[in-house]
Symmetry: C2
Subunit: 359 residues, 2 copies
Amino acid sequence: MRKKNYFAGPSVLPMEVLQEMRDQLVDYEGNGISMLETSHRGGMFEKMYDDCLSTFRELIHIPEDYDVYFLGGGATLQFAMIPFNFLLPGTKAAYCKTGTWANKACNDAQKIGDVAVIFDDKENNYTHLPDVDKLVIPENCSYLYLCANETIGGIEYKKFPKRDKTPIIADMSSDFMSRPVDVSNFDMIYGGVQKNLGPAGATFIIMKKSMLDRRNKNLVAYLDYALHAKEKGLYNTPPVAAIWGVKLMFDWIKKMGGVEAMDKRAELKSSMIYNIIDSSDFWRSPVDPAVRSRMNIVFRLPSEELEAKFVEESKKEGMLGLKGHRSVGGLRASLYNACPVEDVEALAAFMKEFERKNG
Amino acid sequence: MRKKNYFAGPSVLPMEVLQEMRDQLVDYEGNGISMLETSHRGGMFEKMYDDCLSTFRELIHIPEDYDVYFLGGGATLQFAMIPFNFLLPGTKAAYCKTGTWANKACNDAQKIGDVAVIFDDKENNYTHLPDVDKLVIPENCSYLYLCANETIGGIEYKKFPKRDKTPIIADMSSDFMSRPVDVSNFDMIYGGVQKNLGPAGATFIIMKKSMLDRRNKNLVAYLDYALHAKEKGLYNTPPVAAIWGVKLMFDWIKKMGGVEAMDKRAELKSSMIYNIIDSSDFWRSPVDPAVRSRMNIVFRLPSEELEAKFVEESKKEGMLGLKGHRSVGGLRASLYNACPVEDVEALAAFMKEFERKNG
């Protein structure tokens, strides 16, 4: 029987996507060859890739003056590539430290150049986000960096800083395409695909072309965005299997009604769980209610013993991935795009029953 | 009908591997979840990954004091990571420029530190390899770098330099596991998996643990081999789909008789084609006969018109990927591990018939 999958990433894929991959795996669309063994310089891959990028642009309304492509190495490699390219000598980069992912990006930037930490919620153990209208960006700032959704902390920006003269770069690994985003407000949006957009192994890059003019020159090949932009991500061999999965996921999102439909689903699904959390003192949300993530719902029970029992009993019900990240403890349900509404209903029912028995 | 696949990479996979991926894709071994949607911190992935690494060690006899794992970003990212980690201030790195891939690695190293080019076959358009017994390694050298097989030039080291005090680092992307290799002669062997070992998206790293003690410190996270070694490649989310394919490919190589059997197959398959090339003046091999690659057989016909005709007619016979790389022209047949003997027999028959009609 199919498990209910609440993993924080890699994470659940739609059954239709898995079945399509299965059906086309040995012989892709009657071409007599698998997508996994064709040349990335060959027509079969190129057509699939062009379709993928074209649906990508359509779904999230990427303007013409933005490049879009995929790289390898995960978001973690981007933590380094961003300052290597854009943290110019004699300038600062402004970082908002909001949890594990933003902080890792900030650590890498500090190894490369001058960083201004303009928000750091360490004292609250990263449970709040900045008031974006009050952020003070330093003079001569190369870019402002933020992480849209922190999977471990379970917090998500509900509003983004408005771009003026300072470029904004955002890691949207864990909530991209779960809600509409005005791409033109950002100079770069990127993310690992393995949460909302497909199987692990690819990182999407959306970048305003003009950013390439203000990058550091003479970088080594793989770290240079200009090389990748020029070749649409095919400067070297791309992660074909992951990109194929993303292409099918984009088709699925489109068929489901696009990003607007994903937005409604995310609201519906996360409300089901937050409503339970808010319904009694048995449950507790450790984060600022104003910035609760719709993707990663972090919650606590009255004791660690009860939390362990919750995880154990949920597994018996075929529910995977409900244990919180080891660095913060507690419980976490990740409800990405592909997580079926029925699986969230099942989780809600399980939670109510668990409270009835143990509350 | 299944095509005959001579692509230079990504390249042919065994039908058994494709079928196994297909059969397990939706529900991996009855776990109720796909390998593509499970957490890389979860037991199902970890068991597969441990099996993969363990078969890897067994197949190519990796000593205990070597780490082995996978990264993303392809061999191209390694061109940069190697000098970032190992080209120490006040030392040189020695590079053998033997074609497209070694030269790209050398270019990146020159952006990072001091490089001694100890062999460069530019005047012969990269058709020869150095006599490894005559290489002169500079004093105070951090490492000697070479590319074992050049896919575009079609040349392959038949013998490697013997390690003394200078560590040897080798890119074996395109001929790894096609022949036995004494891993202990190298301090690092790495490569993209998409030629001999699986679908595109992962890069294997084999590294003597002691190399980590002599690396540059304070590197950004993803570029630091020590972080990856410590987490066996799971510092961040790995390219799961590609690794799963590699695991199945390792199982297949083992079932076929291991690297020793691959070696015999490579000799058999490449001889079939080289014998034809040597049989008449209709065919011409542009490379030093002593270092002809068994993986990528580069050959020419009396005219470019005939070469175009060869490609066109081969396609009609269901044969893909026989056009030479655009940078050198001509023809190329890539005969990696998974390429069936029957497909090489079919190519040989096609070549003979083509010569009969056009010779």
